[in-house]
Symmetry: C2
Subunit: 197 residues, 2 copies
Amino acid sequence: MTYRNYLDMSRDQLIKNLEQKVTKERLKHMISVEETCIRLAHLNHYDAKKAGLAGLLHDYAKNLSDSEFIHLIDKYQLGEELKQWNNNIWHGLVGTYKIQEDLGITDKEILQAIRYHTTGSSQMTLLDKIVYVADYIEPSRDFPGVDKARKLADISLDKAVAYETAQTIRYLVKKRIPIHPQTLQTYNAYIHHLNKD
Amino acid sequence: MTYRNYLDMSRDQLIKNLEQKVTKERLKHMISVEETCIRLAHLNHYDAKKAGLAGLLHDYAKNLSDSEFIHLIDKYQLGEELKQWNNNIWHGLVGTYKIQEDLGITDKEILQAIRYHTTGSSQMTLLDKIVYVADYIEPSRDFPGVDKARKLADISLDKAVAYETAQTIRYLVKKRIPIHPQTLQTYNAYIHHLNKD
């Protein structure tokens, strides 16, 4: 796979770059999401290169420090409200600015899919859905409901988005963790795709 | 109990009025919420009359038709977005306008507590919390978690608000029902009051 259309380096060079940015374990997950994105792209007749690159880069900013994220929120004027959140939210919504800065990626679809890979959004493109779902179902993932999510992803990305978002909200509520409004928007926009069972 | 400070009729006259507006079963629930509000008011050193009246009236608009709610949303310019919701949301957020029109109640605290009795809000007054919690725990309520909510209400209204909101979200997700953004705001604002257990 070459990503030269979107990036000024080979995939091997990119992997070497990523090794400096994230942990070994994290990179393994990112490569697994890349492979799952390529599979879902083929299944849904989408450009496998764009999907693969978005998947490979989705957690690029995961190891940024909180202060780096606060700096980016100020620099790009993303709003004070966002500062109340944390790495879980920032590495998607804010991380894309770091990816643009470091790697010079300008493709809007790729950046948007990475931006919304944790929260989703109310109007997801095919690529947004591929990355969002691939992150949840890649083969090394192991948590309650992941097999159902995998089955749904083979039938309908909309159903998989809805199920994944519902499961995420249930998990967050069980753990008493705040829920980002963007996650609720995704839930409200996609939940009608699931049967009321 | 007399509500003459806030209302131009006796409690008996109000009950007769309500009998024309809601079902017998609904009125029974409203009286039960009234009693629970009075109890919670005493427990939390709040004006029992205001709490009782807010509790008695909280479901005043429950039997309004959808077209009546749409009419009120237009009349009071409450925004197109609100029209996407349904009776469950409208009877609180919109119902207060009907109460003002029909009964001439002007007390802002009472109207606000009724307004937010289903969704809560991120900054609830003591009366808001009393009505929100009373509606959930009144003695005839019977669903998973209601006993825990009752126990929490005796300890802390903030904890009860947090628990009730978490349980409500879990229920809605389980049933694949959309969740109003105001409900999420309540969850995010109060969830830190609960232990992460």
